[in-house]
């Protein structure tokens, strides 16, 4: 994580204990986030490693495939980091929902990259619960942003059924 960033997990300020590892960096016992390629290549030995493990999924064209490539390894992972390389690349919103809702991943889904105020609420609704954001942002601002739209029409990865249903007590 960049030095000018802070980490918010489940709407609380959190210490960042995770390191993003380069492809060839050695793995020790500290909480480490590695690439999907590496996870796949070293999965056997990683299963033996008794230490926190995370993966970062890039937001390129292959992200759809990657989300399904990572599926067999989810039981080994505490963190899946989803890349938002630039605010207008919204692939990871879909990936987050697939991870939460289809693949039932219960660990931390983290937004990394261009993670801006006006997206946090949508990200949270899609199942992202950890945010690498600018260090200057106050927790108040973050919390307030999550509630800017007080309701929702449609269901997503959050528990909200959506107004279309709730109107009728469903």
């Amino acid at each position: 994580m960049r030095s000018n960033r802070q980490l918010i997990i489940d709407a609380q300020a959190a210490d960042n204990i995770w390191n993003y590892l380069d492809e060839d960096a050695g793995l020790d016992d500290t909480p480490s986030i590695i690439s999907l390629d590496r996870l796949e290549a070293e999965s056997d030995s990683l299963r033996q490693r008794n230490a926190p493990l995370g993966v970062i999924i890039r937001a390129g064209e292959k992200q759809g495939e990657d989300i399904h490539r990572v599926a067999p390894f989810l039981d080994m992972l505490q963190v899946v980091a989803l890349e938002f390389p630039i605010y207008r690349n919204g692939r990871s919103f879909s990936s987050a929902r697939i991870l939460r809702q289809e693949l039932c991943f219960a660990g931390e889904i983290r937004a990394t990259g261009d993670v801006l105020h006006d997206q946090w609420q949508a990200m949270a609704r899609c199942g992202i619960n950890a945010f690498e954001i600018d260090a200057k942002i106050s927790l108040d601002e973050f919390t307030q942003a999550l509630g800017e739209l007080s309701d929702a029409y449609q269901p997503a990865a959050d528990q909200q059924r959506g107004i279309l249903w709730r109107r009728h007590g469903l």
Binding site: R88, F93, S94, D118, D151, A156, I163, W165, R166, R167
Partner: protein, 552 residues
């Protein structure tokens, strides 16, 4: 028509406050223009040549008189006293100040209107048939499912940062007035053998740089499953749509590059997963609630099919008679009619209306059309339910407001995008060309002789003037600093959708109207029986037109 409940009001109010905060942060320098731009776009705020432009949503083109009056008020208070109705049934203001837009939006919210998602890479206004609920042989009022789709797509957290904009249209009639085959998703309401309502879903239509007719993805999606199906299409698009090149980022390109079969397979696979969760099955209670808003108004069932008063008035006033011929269409109920209001006065700016005109139409809607007015895809307005007995009274008010031009679907009823007179994207001016065509062909007898001829003019390749689907389409281009005009023939946006064929070399500002005149006279020379221009073109092809067009 639909009325907001407390939830709808709250959503719009929240959005106004959110945008107010975003504008404040931008003005205070807390966010860059680069970060602010997608936010303002998602609230319909463009930067154009002279000023900001605000696009206000008119869901499926339906308005009440109260809403129309507010639109007129907005034009007076925040703009320069006029506005423009668009080819997607919305309305645009050309001169609002950014720092007053939050107040403007708050006023709109008070009459259940907004500018949400009228721009940006998100799901846009769901458009539909301007004759919905008024025309005979409708399978179902398309505005019901349009409203459900509108709500589902509003602030959808997964689909707010799509590769590109996304446009959905719905028709409930075999005559497609909503151009569904030229949309990212086009929906045709159908009934199966058991008489159940379902939706034929077409995907990947669009104009712009690379026009495509949509491919049919499903013959029949049952009503309760439509949102799950749409969500599947959107998710496939969001994941796989190209993001490397904004000219290749629409779903039409994804369908084209993936192939129709594979696309269908991907969608069906995702649909099966989503449908299995049942999370998007629309409750019957909600379908019923929304359906009730689109029930027939209290029609007078005692009216005879023919109106003696109308017949008399037509005898007495030739201009009125012409107007009835061209602008009035049959209604599903005896004694009623559908009235088309032309916003194409001879020599005027297509689709523009002054605040006074908007107020006048609002009053007509309230008095004569069960308080409803519609916006069409062709930059005109429609009063859906007018008693035939009242047509003369309506006409008199329209005539007094320069709104009674008897030219619907005639050559002078041309569509033109704002073009280089207003638009930051444009390469050429389009409005002056529409005005010149209108002036050249203003003679009514000549127009009636020519008959139905849809001219559509775009000022750049983005095709907001829908030139690809004009019977005669014109694309303005820039060659070394000079405006040129390229002609295409044979396009059509209806159920027999087709993309126009380019004739050849472009024309100058000085020769383009003569060229169109040549095309018109060629058609008149070649036509057989009752053929319209488009019919003759489809029979004889490009060659005879091209020969005459480029003859020395």
């Amino acid at each position: 028509m639909y009325r907001y409940d407390e939830f709808d009001h709250q959503m719009v109010a929240d959005r106004v406050e959110q945008f107010r905060g975003q504008v404040a942060r931008r003005v205070a320098g807390e966010i860059t223009e680069d970060a602010f731009k997608p936010l303002r776009l998602m609230n319909g705020v463009y930067l154009q040549l002279h000023a900001y432009m605000l696009r206000v949503a008119i869901p499926y083109g339906t308005l009440s008189s109260k809403q129309m009056h507010m639109l007129a008020h907005i034009a007076r208070k925040y703009d320069r006293g006029y506005s423009h109705f668009t080819t997607r049934q919305n309305i645009q203001y050309n001169w609002p100040a950014l720092d007053r837009i939050p107040d403007l939006l708050e006023e709109l919210a008070s009459v259940e209107m907004h500018a949400i998602q009228t721009s940006g890479n998100c799901i846009r206004n769901v458009t539909s048939d301007q004759y919905a609920g008024a025309v005979a042989d409708e399978i179902e009022d398309p505005r019901i499912i349009s409203e459900i789709i509108r709500q589902w797509s509003t602030f959808h957290p997964e689909f707010t940062y799509l590769p590109r904009k996304f446009k959905i249209a719905v028709t409930g009639h075999k005559n497609d007035r909503a151009a569904i085959k030229l949309h990212d998703i086009g929906i045709v309401i159908v009934k199966n053998d058991a008489g159940e309502i379902g939706y034929e879903v077409h995907v990947g239509g669009g104009q712009g740089r690379t026009p495509f007719i949509a491919k049919k993805m499903s013959d029949f999606v049952p009503a309760a499953q439509l949102l799950a199906y749409l969500e599947a299409v959107m998710r496939v698009y969001n994941m796989l749509g190209r993001r490397d090149n904004s000219y290749k980022a629409r779903i039409k390109i994804l369908v084209h590059e993936t192939g129709e079969e594979e696309m269908r397979r991907l969608v069906e696979e995702e649909f099966a997963k989503i449908d299995a969760t049942q999370m998007l099955t629309v409750p019957q209670a909600e379908i019923d609630r929304i359906t009730a808003y689109f029930a027939d108004p209290d029609f007078d069932a005692s009216l005879p099919a023919d109106s003696a008063a109308l017949a008399e008035a037509r005898q007495a006033d030739k201009a009125f008679d012409h107007w009835v011929n061209t602008n009035v269409v049959d209604h599903k109920k005896d004694g009623y009619a559908i009235v088309n209001i032309s916003l194409k006065p001879i020599g005027g700016v297509p689709g523009d209306a002054t605040d006074a005109q908007i107020d006048a139409v609002a009053e007509l809607a309230k008095t004569y059309s069960f308080d409803e007015v519609r916006v069409t895809h062709e930059q005109n307005l429609t009063l859906p339910h007018v008693k035939r007995d009242d047509l003369k009274a309506v006409y008199d008010v329209l005539a007094a407001n320069q709104l009674a031009t008897p030219n619907i679907s005639m050559i002078s009823d041309a569509i033109a995008c704002p073009g280089l007179d207003y638009c930051d994207l444009a390469n050429a001016r389009s409005i002056p060309l529409a005005q010149e065509i209108s002036n050249r062909f203003q003679d009514l007898e000549r127009q009636y002789d020519i008959g139905e001829l849809k001219v559509k003019i775009s000022g750049c390749i983005n095709a907001c003037g829908h030139h690809h689907v004009g019977h005669i389409g014109v694309l303005g281009v820039d060659k070394k600093g000079t405006e040129f005009y390229q002609i295409s023939l044979g396009g059509s946006a209806d159920e027999n959708a087709s993309l126009g064929d380019i004739t050849g070399r472009a024309f100058t500002e000085d020769t383009i109207v003569d060229a169109i005149e040549t095309l018109v006279t060629s058609y008149i020379d070649m036509r057989q029986d009752d053929e319209r221009f488009i019919d003759t073109y489809r029979r004889v092809g490009m060659q005879p037109f091209k020969e005459r067009l480029y003859a020395e």
